[in-house]
Symmetry: C2
Subunit: 293 residues, 2 copies
């Protein structure tokens, strides 16, 4: 199971305190020391919407060449162009599973978002840039509630048609349970048998680790997590953020899965970033440590 460290993007995006560019680069450098092979370093979105990441180009310009892949989130062609101009060679794009959420977040329907990603996908092919697609709110929507099976299947079929390098199902508001993970990745695998699958988890309702376990057992190859579980959830004030990298690493390692990450390094840097943000760790491991020696 590959861990994708998303604290510099999804984590920082939802925190009140904005880190300096220097601190962001320090976070990326520390994340690399955990052993992770892919880090989502920022997003190229409207700075008036996400002021925490307004320095996206400066962050990318300052990235060290450590052999770790650096990806960025983009929502449209403009963001894609800015990301590539800054030096990004791997982007994640977003299609929200419900129209209401898509309209509110991106000002377009789900079908229009699919077409925006199709355009980015074509540009990516021309530029040699890797393009992943995340289906946001795959397990529930903050506005519409349930995302029915047939709706999910229809969106996943449109996304499958894009022939992306990777498809990620995101539990954007942290409502999924393991049976949801198993069912929806089953649909995805049926529609796109050869595409690598990734999951993006929030621990909002304490199901993050259970969902990570369900995912690894469902053939999901990569998992988004954040050091310290930073990030919160914009739709649940006061909630925890992404599932904590260190909590997932503890669980997967004890289950015999190799992530390539070092738990002690994770704990050190989880404590560093939460201290820097002035928040308590949202995961559990950073407070209590691993298995007693």
């Amino acid at each position: 199971m590959e861990i994708v460290e998303v604290s510099p993007r999804d984590g920082l995006q939802n925190e009140d305190r904005t880190l300096s560019t220097e601190d962001k680069l320090e976070l990326v450098a520390r994340a690399a020391r955990t052993g992770v092979r892919r880090i989502e370093v920022t997003s190229f979105v409207r700075p008036d919407r996400v002021p925490q990441l307004a320095d996206a180009a400066e962050v990318v310009a300052g990235l060290p060449d450590t052999g770790v892949a650096h990806s960025a989130l983009v929502l449209n062609a403009r963001g894609y162009e800015r990301a590539v101009a800054a030096g990004i060679r791997e982007v994640t794009t977003l299609v929200l599973a419900s129209d209401t959420f898509s309209q509110r977040n991106q000002g377009m329907t789900t079908a229009e978002a699919v077409e925006a990603v199709r355009d980015i996908r074509a540009r990516g092919r021309a530029d040699g840039v890797t393009v992943a697609v995340t289906i946001g709110a795959s397990f529930g929507c903050p506005f519409e509630g349930e995302v029915p099976d047939e709706r999910f299947r229809s969106v996943a079929a449109r996304v499958a048609d894009l022939d992306a390098d990777e498809v990620c199902l995101a539990d954007t508001i942290g409502v999924a349970v393991p049976s949801d993970v198993e069912t929806r990745f089953g649909v995805l695998a049926e529609l796109s048998p050869s595409v690598p699958m990734r999951i993006h988890l929030h621990d909002t309702r304490n199901t993050g680790v259970a969902n990570a376990v369900a995912a690894v057992r469902s053939g999901v190859r990569a998992l988004d997590a954040s050091l310290g579980g930073i990030g919160g959830c914009p739709f649940a004030p006061g909630a925890s953020g992404n599932v904590a990298t260190e909590d997932v690493v503890y669980t997967l390692h004890r289950m015999g899965y190799d992530t390539g990450l070092d738990l002690d390094e994770c704990l050190e840097h989880a404590r560093w970033v939460t201290d820097r943000l002035g928040v308590a760790p949202s995961g559990r491991l950073a407070s209590v440590g691993g298995f007693p020696a």
Copy 2:
């Protein structure tokens, strides 16, 4: 899956603030309103060791007759006698899986603890009192660390020989992961094919919900949980307590399992008890609520 509400016992036992007898009875009454059918109401142990529960007999004397089963924890014949004299008809006894922990907690080896339970079991048969056995630290010990497979099997075999009404495996220090739950309940089911199995979980390392899911899928029929996730862990200062009833109920219900509990009632009483104790809820649901309507 039957939820056993243990907040009045394991929850209160590990909190700094001691509730009044009246508040304890209020907690039991509120727990009953969630729809739970069994509540561990107190323990009959040495009041100098667990001052929070020194009023065990007064609590039992004040219990309403609501049709809900009321159990108590006892560690030896003296505790059993006090419990039965107070009116308890269902006890849980304890055998710790490691000798070091057993010596420190109960002043006897694991083998001696098994004999103490054998005595309680005989008394229970004579008195018509139900006797469950918990194997504490089934997944890890705060002093010895790993509890090896052969050690667990040996302890489980001794416990199987007691022919108890129920056997519970406890993750006393909150280190278990789902594969541990599956493996150790598999051993238990092999040794005692007909005994009802129960699990006792702490969410210390954020694996509580994942372990609950693994348990229900492994044929475990009952699960100990605490409203608000109260209780902490005496071996991990600042840690969360038992897995939160409301978090488990959310997850199991969304997976299609019926617990008989009402989530809104759980949330209300989780908030009440944490407010009464002056602590933040340790589970997630009490802060963010259930699936968005």
